[in-house]
């Protein structure tokens, strides 16, 4: 997530730092007011990261959809349906775990492509297509599960949601990640030298922060039970998502289509085809989220994933994405997901009543975007 020059321009970088500051403030506040000061403990942070994973995985896909100027309201319901399929394939049909995983991801990808095709080629606004999907796929989930929950017994499958990476593997991952960060810093420094603005020391200084964050993160996770598998999946998805949006032709086209669809079309971009693809990507990631969710709960529920679409959209928007399209980063969306999860987690620890949590979360979302708009107008 460090090689983000084009989209993460200076203003956006400043924004990212501001968000990290807000997150830190939220954490410190919760730590101070939680009875027994349990918020900033390895155990709770591990729990928090796991809670972030499901929303985070969807938020990465949602971010790409939003950047292209579209929206998807159906992902919560698809989680219910795809999760139901995975449990149904294992428990009712008796197929192995692999088949269940493939079935769930293929189905949710197909749904994403189908809805994307309706939005892109049948000219039905994606808001409407996926609003229909929100109802229809929830209905499909209830129909498939017959209104009941289907338990999953496969322990390896449950591990997708509950297992942890052994400490040693965690450190290996950390070492690799730090190496990648510094490698990228060296490359940037060399590029800067080509342009005559030498800056090896500056690039290394800039790389020190993410490197320290990675090491600190693994250390904290290992201090409890190791990095949770859902978190590993989420971080992989986030990394790939950041790479796609920053460093692929497809990613650049998404920003162009969302930024100015006419200009994109006249520049020879096939807007429809790219919109179709981005819905497919979100569909696939929704399938992944459904597997994590089902594995974590240990069974498929007819109402699994309810309101997850709104969490994901909120995460993107808090992370600086514009619903008009053309603006937003994967990094921002991930931070947004973490902020949302921190609010959930912290307020539960403090003992804020359920209804009050919703009111506070809703208010914070609106205030955050309001402040962001005010800041944008000034600059």
């Amino acid at each position: 997530m460090s090689e983000s020059k084009s989209i993460l321009t200076n203003r956006a970088a400043l924004r990212a730092y501001a968000m990290i500051g807000v997150l830190a403030a939220i954490w410190i506040l919760f730590h101070a007011i939680t009875p027994g000061h349990t918020f900033l403990t390895p155990r709770n942070l591990s729990n928090l990261m796991t809670q972030t994973a499901v929303t985070g995985v969807i938020a990465v896909g949602m971010l790409m959809v939003i950047v292209s100027g579209q929206i998807d309201l159906s992902v919560g319901s698809i989680i219910g349906f795809a999760g139901g399929i995975s449990a149904y394939v294992m428990t009712e049909m008796g197929y192995p775990m692999t088949a269940a995983i493939i079935a769930a991801v293929v189905m949710s990808t197909a749904i994403g492509l189908f809805q994307g095709a309706l939005a892109a080629y049948a000219n039905i606004p994606s808001f409407i297509v996926t609003l229909g999907g929100l109802l229809a796929w929830r209905g499909a989930a209830k129909w498939l599960l017959g209104g009941n929950t289907i338990p999953v017994s496969d322990e390896i499958f449950k591990g997708i949601g509950n297992a942890n990476l052994p400490a040693l593997y965690g450190w290996i991952v950390a070492a690799l990640a730090v190496a990648v960060v510094f490698f990228a810093a060296f490359r940037r420094a060399r590029m800067a030298e080509d342009e005559g603005t030498s800056g090896l020391s500056r690039e290394l200084a800039k790389a020190a922060f993410p490197a320290a964050a990675i090491v600190g993160f693994i250390a904290i996770m290992n201090a409890w039970q190791g990095v949770p598998v859902p978190v590993v999946i989420f971080l992989c998805v986030a990394f790939i998502g950041a790479f796609i949006t920053n460093s692929t032709v497809f990613g650049r086209y998404l920003y162009a289509i969302g930024g100015n669809a006419d200009a994109a079309r006249l520049s020879g971009i096939n807007n429809r085809w790219n919109v179709l693809k981005v819905f497919g990507v979100l569909g696939a990631l929704t399938g992944v989220a459904a597997l994590i969710f089902t594995a974590r709960v240990g069974s498929a529920l007819p109402d699994a994933g309810t309101l997850k679409e709104l969490d994901a959209i909120a995460a993107c928007v808090i992370g600086g994405a514009s619903l008009v399209g053309g603006r937003g980063t994967v990094f921002g969306a991930c931070l947004g997901a973490l902020i949302m999860a921190s609010l959930d987690n912290g307020m539960s620890l403090v003992g804020v009543r359920d209804f009050m949590q919703d009111i506070i979360k809703g208010s914070i979302l609106v205030i955050a975007v309001g402040l962001d708009m005010a800041g944008r107008k000034q600059s």
Binding site: E195, V249, Y255, G259, N260, A264, R265
Partner: protein, 508 residues
């Protein structure tokens, strides 16, 4: 006493004086035509009159029936009896004719609209104009001509005494034009003063009592229509020297690169209306082909269709370097080596939120970078060439495009298309809204590109620009080709005559 007097009107835009001491008068029951080239200041003058530019934003005096007025908005001018019918219709298509006529002033009791009364009055008004239009019909279901007439009914319902018509006949059929003129004659008899803006000199001479010519924001002359003729008016509209900002081009022409045969483009809104009607042209390597014409002549639509970007119906036969070729979307066009610097760079050319670099490499991304992965360093390397040669003034390639001046934005768009390494480059109004310095740089760039063998098709509303840059000029008038001149033949008068449909031996 004149109905309306405008004295010494002066209006500045940043860097441009749009109106420079214009004086204009209108008598009751008079039909007064206002003519001039695109950009002469006609529309600006009417915006001053209608309060679009409120008092204080311009200098000068407006007097209605002997009393000086100052409008702080459109509502004030409407109350003073001024109604403007713009080129683009302003009816709400989803509402009925009656609702449109009384929009914002519907007869009501206790805040509830009195529909019976509304439709009764609307029907009365339409009948009074001799129109058989159902006041309950949706405005959008009417043809453009009938919508125009509804606009007039709407203006009259406000007891307008000064009626401004901005190119009212541009979209009308001959029969509709006759109906319109019949109605206007009636209004004249009722003492309504009319200001008529039109490029169609035939109509201007048929209807007008007086004609005022504007040029470069100044009043050139006001004539009684009976005392003048078309040629004199055209000479006054054009009447300026082509200055030496255009160096004599040293293009050496090669083979024909692009040949477009019988291009016909139909309107998106009205599928049977031809915006471009059977136009053919070709352009050679190293040649600048100018396409001249007035607003609405179909120039942009012609290029858009060839580029595969027209969203309505069109037919076209293309040959590229002697071989037939089919272009069904902009991707095909780019692959074939056509670049298109579109009109309205903010809407069609740039992604304003993104950096210069992002914008510049967009159309050639797979060429300068990779098919799947982008490479920032490759992109920078590719963009550095146009960045330098076009002398784009910006702190770096990471500067956001929306923060640049108009001239630099236009250069970014030009750079974007140069990176696609085109063989043919379409330039649609490449210098609109940019300052003189940047204009000259773009002129020099156009000549330089032609010298390297690029075929250039240049659309411009500025006659001196077309005359100064082109090796050959094709003139369009209302979708038809009405003239083709070589550089040696072309004069401002000939081109303007063809562009206004006033060309004695038009047989192209």
């Amino acid at each position: 006493m004149p109905l309306l007097e405008m004295y010494d009107i002066q209006k500045d835009f940043p860097g441009v004086r749009a109106l420079d001491g214009v004086t204009f008068t209108l008598d009751a029951g008079e039909f007064h035509a206002l003519v001039g080239e695109n950009g002469a200041g006609k529309s600006t003058l009417m915006k001053v009159l209608s309060g679009v530019y409120p008092a204080g934003e311009f200098a000068g005096k407006i007097v209605i029936e002997g009393r000086e007025v100052s409008f702080s908005g459109i509502r004030d001018s409407e109350n003073a009896g001024i109604a403007i019918i713009f080129q683009e219709l302003s009816l709400v298509k989803e509402l009925s004719v009656g609702e449109n006529i009384f929009l914002g002033r519907a007869p009501s009791r206790f805040g509830v609209i009195d529909w019976t009364e509304l439709y009764r009055r609307a029907a009365e008004l339409l009948r009074g104009l001799g129109l058989s239009i159902d006041p309950r019909a949706k405005a959008g279901s009417l043809g453009i001509g009938q919508q125009q007439l509804v606009e007039i009914a709407k203006a009259l319902s406000r007891d307008a005494r000064i009626l401004v018509l901005d190119e009212p006949t541009a979209a009308l059929t001959d029969a509709e034009v006759e109906t319109l003129f019949h109605i206007l004659d009636g209004l004249k008899a009722r003492g309504v003063g009319m200001i008529y803006i039109s490029h169609r000199l035939d109509e201007v001479f048929r209807m007008s009592d007086r004609i005022t010519v504007l040029r470069d924001g100044r009043t050139v002359a006001t004539h009684a229509a009976a005392d003048t003729n078309k040629d004199a008016i055209i000479a006054e509209m054009v009447g300026r020297e082509v200055t030496d900002i255009f160096p004599e081009p040293k293009h050496s022409l090669g083979d024909v690169v692009l040949r477009a045969e019988s291009v016909t483009v139909f309107s998106e809104d009205e599928p049977d209306k031809r915006i471009v009607d059977d136009v053919s042209f070709d352009v050679r390597a190293g040649e600048v082909l100018g396409i001249a014409g007035l607003m609405g002549a179909g120039r942009s639509e012609l290029l858009t269709a060839i580029f595969g970007a027209w969203q309505g119906r069109y037919t076209v036969t293309l040959e590229l370097a002697g071989r037939p070729i089919a272009i069904k979307d902009p991707r095909d066009a780019i692959r074939a080596g056509i670049g298109f610097v579109t009109e309205d760079r903010k809407r069609y050319g740039l992604i304003l939120d993104q950096t210069i670099l992002d914008n510049m490499t967009l159309a050639a991304l797979k060429r300068v970078s990779g098919r799947i992965f982008t490479s920032r360093s490759d992109e920078r390397r590719a963009a550095s060439m146009p960045m330098r040669s076009l002398r784009i003034k910006a702190p770096s390639v990471e500067t956001v495009a929306g923060t640049l001046s108009g001239g630099n934005q236009q250069k970014v768009v030009l750079g974007k298309w140069l990176l696609t390494e085109p063989r043919v480059l379409f330039l649609d109004e490449p210098t609109r809204g940019i300052d003189v310095g940047a204009k000259q740089e773009i002129y020099a760039e156009i000549n330089k590109l032609a010298e390297t063998g690029l075929a250039i098709v240049l659309v411009s509303s500025e006659l001196p620009e077309v005359l100064g840059l082109s090796d050959r000029i094709v003139v369009l008038h209302e979708g038809r080709k009405t003239g083709e001149f070589t550089r040696a033949e072309a004069t401002a008068e000939l081109v303007m005559a063809a562009a206004t449909g006033h060309y004695p031996n038009a047989n192209f």
